[in-house]
């Protein structure tokens, strides 16, 4: 059956290509979101139906809106990942109070735009670092140089060289944390290499 159905029309070809584009991990992730949305984790008769329906809906979404795969991919390292989340939450907490203190300090606030070069080649890590840097108060991404792998960060209240250097170190520490928590083996190897060659140190 299978070998005697070459794609006869363009339509069939398109359908086949689209079916090939379904990525199982992404579909499972969408099912998880669906379950969280409708409280599917409580044990009750509807839970199984919700699971199946959620999976079908996510497959339908991927058929209608096919997206390119996440190329380098990621993998969650449990211990490092949890440590990463705790660290980011703590950093967010501390930085919020710093910005609050900044608001109530009289006088004009001087800031800086710093450039931080990334040490890994993965686009996903670049995006993650940019998101986390923006989410933490006190630093906003102004510009991303994708080919140069460079982030331009606006840092609130960085008016001395010392503070500029510390902000740069913070972003680098975040990148290292993210790569160790979410990066693939290749990413981590790249980071270690950069660290070993001393290029990454500020």
């Amino acid at each position: 059956m299978k070998k005697q159905t070459p794609p006869r029309s363009i339509r069939a070809l398109g359908l086949r290509r689209r079916l090939g584009k379904i990525q199982l991990p992404v579909a499972l992730g969408m099912t998880l979101v669906w379950m969280m949305l409708f409280d599917g984790f409580r044990l009750r008769p509807e839970s199984l139906g919700l699971l199946v329906l959620g999976f079908l809906v996510s497959v339908a979404i991927m058929l209608v809106f096919p997206l390119p795969p996440i190329k380098p991919g990621f993998r969650f390292w449990p211990v490092r990942g949890v440590w990463m989340i705790v660290y980011i939450a703590w950093k967010m907490f501390v930085a919020s109070f710093q910005v609050t203190a900044q608001v109530f300090t009289p006088g004009t606030v001087h800031s800086s735009v710093i450039s931080v070069k990334q040490r890994t080649g993965s686009d996903l890590m670049l995006v993650c670092t940019a998101i986390v840097t923006t989410v933490i108060p006190g630093s906003v991404i102004v510009e991303v140089g994708q080919t140069e792998r460079e982030l331009f960060v606006h840092v609130l209240g960085a008016d001395t060289d010392e503070k500029v250097r510390r902000a740069e170190q913070d972003v680098r520490a975040l990148e290292e944390l993210l790569v160790r928590g979410l990066g693939t083996r290749a990413d981590i190897a790249e980071l270690e290499e950069a660290l070993a060659s001393g290029e990454g140190r500020v």
Partner: protein, 112 residues
């Protein structure tokens, strides 16, 4: 405890008022977009506080919609500004392009 609830309500109301003040004052359109963002954030906080006070989970979908769509206003306004910067502010000497494209494809955009 009632006092704390009142403090929460007053703080949110003052925050929304200050946001509205910036909305009126804001020298450029991006400042106004930013103050709309803050207004949305305070609306979400207010809805959360309301739901918590009444212990009423029916407002959660509203919170979710705001969380998903709250950023679209500032993005669309920024895109609008990026297309025609000269009307709202004098272009800075060093900026070559309008800022629509990313750095890499900026030179390719000269034809448009």
């Amino acid at each position: 405890m009632t006092v704390l609830w009142i403090v929460i309500a007053v703080a949110l109301a003052v925050a929304a008022l200050l946001g509205t003040a910036r909305l009126f004052m804001g020298p450029s359109i991006l400042d106004r977009a930013l103050s709309v963002d803050v207004l949305i954030a305070s609306a979400m906080t207010g809805l959360g506080a309301y739901a918590a006070f009444h212990q009423d989970p029916t407002l959660m979908p509203t919170l979710m919609v705001l969380a998903l769509l709250g950023f679209t206003s500032s993005v669309s306004i920024s895109k609008f500004v990026a297309r025609r910067p000269e009307e709202y502010a004098p272009p800075r000497g060093t900026t070559d392009e309008t800022g629509t494209g990313s750095q890499q494809n900026a030179p390719g955009k000269e034809g448009s």
